[in-house]
């Protein structure tokens, strides 16, 4: 399950952000008549099509897999999360329809209609993401149901959709999608520009990609701060795990790096910034941060994995924000950033960072919630299907996804090559 999701999330991100790039390029073309933008829009549309198709099938797999792997989860959660999932289904449907119109309609419908179709693709892509993240947020901080004597007696799906985590998680995910995809596309074209300076195609591609990616990467740390505070309030165990915080402390330090050792209940080799954690999580340098030892041992998530994933997310995310800030400063001084070969190199290096950060962030929120599939309500072990031999389908899907991923990579490479 985690595997399918981990695979799907990358395609979903590209599926959210790529249409925006493609529409922006087409709009520039229609406005300026500059043919390079037309080529760009066409090329990006092709990439979008491949990735959307793979995203579509991996999404189908997911909708079934929930029931296949976690039937008990679906029995409990279906009535609540079914609503956002249904809405997601419709948003996805809309996206599929208008992507069809967009891809095959270049010369069949009016320019205005075509551009509008692209916009609808972009908007419905974002809408699907919102609905899906609502479900995940609900798993983290379930709301909208009353349990008495072990039975669910009252449910309120609307309250479930707008649970305490929804706002920040949606914001964080959308920004992640735009930042990761924008900077990855920018990075690819930056690498091309290093090889062939002065190519008008790559120059323009880079500019459009940056318009989407850079602001998102710059705002992401702020959204991360909001997320951290929400987690601190609602999921203290997760916060403790991702910070590798074992003891309850007032004025807790922020640990950078380090290896948590759950048996000894210490995090070794970390650089500590005094009072940093209390300040970040509660905006108060003296706030008390509850450590893992304040909670029963059987409710701890795998601390080392969560802490390290969190560090990776922060590191890659910061690198992205820095490169974006560099571009912003140069742009504000009205210089041409594309002239700076060092900046191009930096951008090329961070091409995959957005996706690495996404996977790491996903690990933080999912592994950080273990042993629960629904926080405090349903343990993952109780939700899983009674069918024996689960390793077989897992291995099968792993193989399938590996194959698909490799093929997509080859295809995208050949698409990029064509332009070089």
């Amino acid at each position: 399950m985690a595997l399918s999701l981990g695979f799907h999330i990358v395609f979903a991100e590209i599926g959210i952000a790529m249409p925006v790039l493609m529409v922006l390029a087409e709009w520039r073309w229609r406005r300026t008549g500059d043919h390079v933008y037309y080529q760009l829009a066409k090329r990006w549309a092709k990439g979008t099509a491949v990735l959307f198709a793979v995203g579509a099938v991996s999404g189908t797999v997911l909708s079934f897999e929930l029931g296949l792997l976690w039937p008990e989860f679906m029995r409990v959660a279906g009535p609540i999360i079914g609503i956002p999932f249904s809405l997601e289904g419709f948003a996805f449907f809309t996206e599929a329809i208008f992507l069809g119109v967009y891809l095959y309609g270049w010369d069949r419908i009016t320019p205005r209609a075509h551009l509008l179709a692209g916009l609808i693709v972009a908007a419905s892509g974002a809408a699907s993401a919102i609905f899906v993240v609502m479900v995940n947020a609900w798993m983290n901080t379930p709301a909208g149901l009353v349990i008495s004597a072990g039975r669910i007696t009252h449910i309120d799906p609307i309250a479930g959709m707008f649970n305490p985590s929804t706002g920040q998680q949606v914001l964080h995910m959308l920004l992640a999608a735009y930042a990761a995809t924008g900077l990855a596309v920018g990075g690819v074209h930056a690498a091309m520009l290093l090889r062939r300076p002065g190519s008008a195609f790559h120059r323009r591609a880079l500019t459009v990609a940056l318009i989407i990616g850079a602001p998102a990467a710059l705002f992401q740390p702020i959204s991360g701060d909001i997320s951290a505070r929400t987690v601190a309030k609602w999921q203290p165990i997760k916060l403790a795990a991702l910070e590798g915080q074992f003891e309850t402390e007032t004025g807790a330090p922020l640990k950078i790096g380090g290896v948590p050792d759950p048996t000894a209940a210490v995090t070794r080799y970390a650089i500590e910034i005094p009072r940093g954690l209390s300040l970040l999580a509660f905006h108060d340098p003296n706030a008390e941060v509850r450590g893992l030892t304040a909670f029963p041992r059987d409710q701890w998530p795998p601390v080392a994995a969560v802490h390290i994933a969190f560090q990776i997310m922060i590191a890659t995310g910061s690198a992205m924000a820095l490169v974006s800030a560099w571009a912003a400063v140069v742009a504000l001084r009205r210089r041409d950033i594309v002239q700076s070969r060092w900046w191009l190199r930096a951008l090329a290096v961070i091409t995959p960072f957005g996706f690495i950060a996404t996977e790491a962030g996903w690990t933080v929120t999912e592994v950080g919630r273990q042993p629960w599939v629904i926080s405090g309500m349903l343990r993952t072990a109780d939700a899983v299907t009674p069918m024996p031999g689960l390793a077989v389908p897992l291995a099968l899907f792993a193989l399938l996804y590996l194959g698909l991923g490799a093929i997509v990579a080859v295809l995208i490479r050949s698409l990029i090559r064509e332009t070089a």
Binding site: K46, A49, V50, A53, V54, A56, V57, S58, G59, T60, V61, S63, F64, E65, L66, G67, L68, P71, M74, R75, V76, A77, G78, P79, I81, G82, I83, F85, S86, L87, G89, F90, F92, F93, T94, A96, I97, F98, L99, G100, V101, L103, Y104, G105, R108, I155, D156, P157, T385, P386, M387, P388, G389, P393, L396, F397, L400, I407, L411, S414
Partner: protein, 342 residues
């Protein structure tokens, strides 16, 4: 046989799911059929046949495919207990079906966007065709296993029965497999009939006319086989199917109309008749097992989610339909104009 006074919200959602399933069968099902004809493309116009199939499926298969997602999502939202049972007992066939769907969808895209060299095209073509054939057979066998009560029986034995008894034999038995083949035949028939309308020249049209007629006879044979086996393997279902005589009569009538119109080269009429035939067969099955989602134990009422969820779902479906139906019309409209149809 259906008492109108007992109908309520759960039945309304069940009907919506049935409609979405019907849409999937008519659109996505035909796409699967297209895959079969891609594999069996033959004769002097082999390449033209393949091109026509790719051209007809290209712009719309993703949208067609989403109907299945709609069915699944509505099923687990509205009837979570039923979905959970299906997920446990039918884990293996659903997994096979998913792999088929993944293979098929990605192969199709890779074939159209990937390298143009012959070997790669062949490989993807093969993956596309295999996915297109395996998936409907498994889908049909899932239906068969639900309909004859095997799923329900197996669900009672989870934890006590053997692995084979609970997870394999419900769907890997004569009746479900025949239903699976029947589904594949129907989809292939549907696809060939659609393609007679899509084809732009007469020779190509005749190719698919011949294929549709051959497939029609295979479908009749499979239907007969399914009925014979059902007498012993699914007696309850067989008895119930006979209880809706009007529907069965309409099914037979539309099947005959489809064949006759194909014979007379009235392709547009044939398309309508074939679609009606396939839809009626689907509804024949659904009405036969009404009011059960998984007969003979789990009924629509037993497995329905709380009313508040169902109400919201109806609202959601309403909004969805208001956005989707005009969009779909636009999609199909935009591409029909080009092929010169009205």
């Amino acid at each position: 046989m259906i008492d109108l006074a007992t109908l309520g919200l759960p039945e309304a959602i069940a009907a919506i799911i049935a409609i979405a399933l019907n849409a999937y069968v008519l659109t996505g099902g035909a796409d699967f059929g297209g895959g079969l004809w891609d594999l069996f493309a033959s004769g002097p116009r082999r390449t033209l046949q393949r091109e026509l199939i790719a051209h007809s499926i290209g712009p719309i298969w993703e949208a067609n495919h989403v109907w299945l997602i709609v069915v699944v999502v509505l099923l687990f939202s509205a009837f979570p207990a039923a979905f959970s049972t299906l997920g446990i007992v039918l884990h293996i066939p659903i997994t096979i079906m998913l792999i088929g769907i993944v293979l098929r969808g990605s192969a199709f895209v890779f074939r159209s966007y990937g390298s143009r060299d012959g070997a790669a095209q062949m490989r993807w073509g093969l993956a596309f065709a295999i996915g297109s054939i395996v998936t409907p057979v498994v889908l049909g066998s899932i239906v068969g296993a639900i309909a004859n009560g095997a799923v329900s029986e197996a669900a009672d034995r989870v934890g006590t029965g053997t692995f084979m008894a609970v997870f394999v034999s419900p769907w890997l038995a004569a009746f479900p497999i025949v239903v699976g083949l029947f589904a594949l035949g129907l989809f292939a028939f549907l696809a060939a009939t659609y393609l007679t309308v899509e084809a732009s020249d007469d020779a190509l049209r005749d190719d698919f006319r011949r294929r549709a007629l051959i497939m029609a006879s295979i479908v009749f044979a499979l239907a007969a086989a399914a009925l014979v086996i059902a007498g012993s393997a699914a007696p309850r279902l067989a008895a119930r199917v006979i209880r809706v005589p009007l529907l069965q009569a309409a099914t037979v009538a539309s099947a005959l109309t489809a064949v006759v119109t194909l014979w007379m080269r009235r392709y547009r009429a044939a398309r309508v008749a074939a679609a009606a035939q396939v839809s009626l067969i689907l509804w024949g099955w659904l009405l036969a097992q009404y009011p059960y989602v998984i007969p003979p134990a789990l009924s629509i009422r037993d497995t329905a989610a709380p009313a508040v969820t169902l109400k919201l779902l109806v609202v959601g479906v309403g909004i969805g339909a208001a956005v989707l139906l005009p969009s779909l019309r636009y999609l199909f409209g935009a591409f029909r104009r080009r092929t010169g149809e009205t």
